[in-house]
Amino acid sequence: MTDSALPTFIAESRELLREMEAALLECEQGETGAEAVNSIFRAAHTIKGSSGLFGLDGIVAFTHVVESVLDRVRANTLQMDRTLAAILLECRDHIEHLVNAVADGKSDDIQLATKGEGLLQRLTARAGGVGSAMTHTIATTPVAPAAGREHWQINVQFHTEVLRNGMDPLSFIRYLGTLGDIVALKSLTERLPAVEEFDAEACYLGFEIELASSESQERIEAAFEFVREDCTLQVRPQAPAAQEVAAEKREVDAKESKASKSSDSRSLRVDGDKLDKLIDLIGELVTAGATTTITARKAGLSELNESTLRLARLVEEVRDQALKLRMVQIGPTFSRFQRIVRDVAREIGKEIRLEIGGAETELDKTLIESITDPLTHLVRNAIDHGIETAEVRRARGKNVEGVVRLDAYHDSGSVVIEVADDGGGLKRERIVAKAIERGLIADGSSLTDSEAFALIFEPGFSTAEQVTNLSGRGVGMDVVKRNVNALRGTVELDSKEGEGTTVRIRLPLTLAIIDGFLVGVGNSSFVIPLELVEECVELGDEHRSPDGDQRYINLRGAVLPFVRLREMFSLRSSASRRESIVVIRCAGQRIGIVVDDLLGEMQAVIKPLSRLFSRIRGIGGSTILGTGQLALILDVTSLLDLCLNTRQAHTAPRRALMD
């Protein structure tokens, strides 16, 4: 095995360690399922096996002991409990350190080795000796008597390499014993060769087992999951000959199981850069496609038009598929917080449980990476300051164990991530008082709850003094907001005093390409994210006062505030004869944007603006149109902010003057 494979080993190990961590945390919370134990075992086993290939003896030696203990847990001869899970968790951390040491190129760290030995001693002490204490529990495992149980005939021949691959066939037989009663077992030794040809490290054994079990065939076959490729397995119900034919079909030989295994984990590791390059190219393709469509339309050839349309549709599909490649589930990221919650809660002596919802929600990999920090901040905040101490909770009649909840779901073209706690909630009056003191808002201004809570995201609220005054909330919240905004996302906060707080982060699905709605003002073009567009209406003459004084219309009985892009960006062209309002909805608010022309839907490849323009609010990026022209992509959230604030700050005085 060459060193070039080492990075893959490290990446895979880290992934496995993450799975192991999640499963161990589950066990620590007392939810020890066979699945969790299997997954812990699988991780330890695979890491041991691969480290062996790289000659990383330190990792092999350490992991071997851990694996042996896990093997016994799997075979039900050792009970998984909180203490054991906690020690195993530390062992997991140690393996991670070892792997990291390999990654850093210093695999023989004396300090690490000593620490490892100490850990192993504790583990062995807890588990009562490794390997030697195989008790006869298997034989006496209480299994529910016969009702509904079938007798299975299992024939398994282990392949020669199985031992060298780090598997002990006996552990599978033991595990089988947990699925039912081994009624009869015969060791098959026919394959043992002559002494001269005997290889002590090869496996020649097979077993013929009669198992009485109420489990399904799949479950029984799954007992051999880890050696699927290293054994020939036959599981069939012990039944009259009539069923024999059907049973024959169910025969699982090595080849078949190999295929089924590879379909289980049919994934491919691809370099992130290659993917980015692909997305880039597809971006160009989208632009080029748009140019072709326009040219074709100009040429007026119906056949050409038709084929460009078909092409456009395909490009769109390719784009979607390519973007999906970058989509990953948020679950693993969420699971990582289990550990943070556990550790921080322990540190400050609170009992806190982390609940996770929507783990299968997918979002762009880059987004996930960039959202981890703000999320960590919010989760820590919730633990530190959101959830009350046990005494306070008891006094308030709440469950002593606090709950932090992470949730993710898709909502009209964006992803929402929620961090909720059932803690003390925010004290509205104190926030408002502080904001007035800080000069963030004028005295006597009436704020809605969400506006009041939004204040804690203001930079002014992040000084140390406020930490105590506001019972800690608001620490670095401005940083969270800035980070989220940088991802074209928004943060909002809900809170009920005494009941808890929910922070909601809303993010775009992807960073690279959006479906846009193209509008024109004068000679300039703008793109509005299509998913935000609700409808387009014509701006009636009565609203077209030249000074632009009136900033709302009556839209079917509801007040719709609007902004004129022409004014927002000081475009020096006179308004066209017909203006339209594009009604957009964002973060629960509706607003109209007044434009000259509605140019239709398009796919916009987002090109970031140069740093020079990074301070301009209301613009999120740019894109190149099929005509080669540049269009600016509106950042509707900040636009909304901008115009709502402008209304409060400027319009009111102006109106006062006019009156």
Binding site: G131, T135, H136, F158, L163, L170, I173, G177, S187, C203
Partner: protein, 102 residues
């Protein structure tokens, strides 16, 4: 210290691990001792600390070697881990007389 050879009285003793990690080493010594010995063999497994499939195979092979010479190999005083494996795999402590004849 791991593999004591007490050839007198036809008794052999294996100490320590009988696992894949030491399989080759144990195999060489064990088979050599078994072959060097004419007559029935008692294999003392009381001090075996770990016993896996590889260990089991060694025992089975040793038995086969002895049986090929028309003798029998009995396992005596198996340690707990050995006993558990033998029990699980239905391997008898003493050579089946019918097989020994064969």
């Amino acid at each position: 210290m791991d593999l004591d050879q007490k050839l007198s009285m036809g008794e052999l003793r294996v100490d320590g691990e009988m696992t894949i990690y030491r399989a080759n080493e144990v195999a060489q010594t064990l088979f050599a001792s078994v072959r060097a010995h004419a007559g029935d063999v008692k294999l003392d497994l009381s001090d075996v600390s770990e016993f896996d499939t590889a260990g089991l195979q060694l025992v089975l092979m040793a038995r086969r070697i002895v049986e090929a010479n028309g003798h029998r190999l009995d396992l005596v005083r198996p340690s707990q881990c050995v006993a558990e494996v033998l029990d699980l795999c239905n391997v008898a402590l003493t050579t089946d007389p019918t097989q020994a004849a064969a």
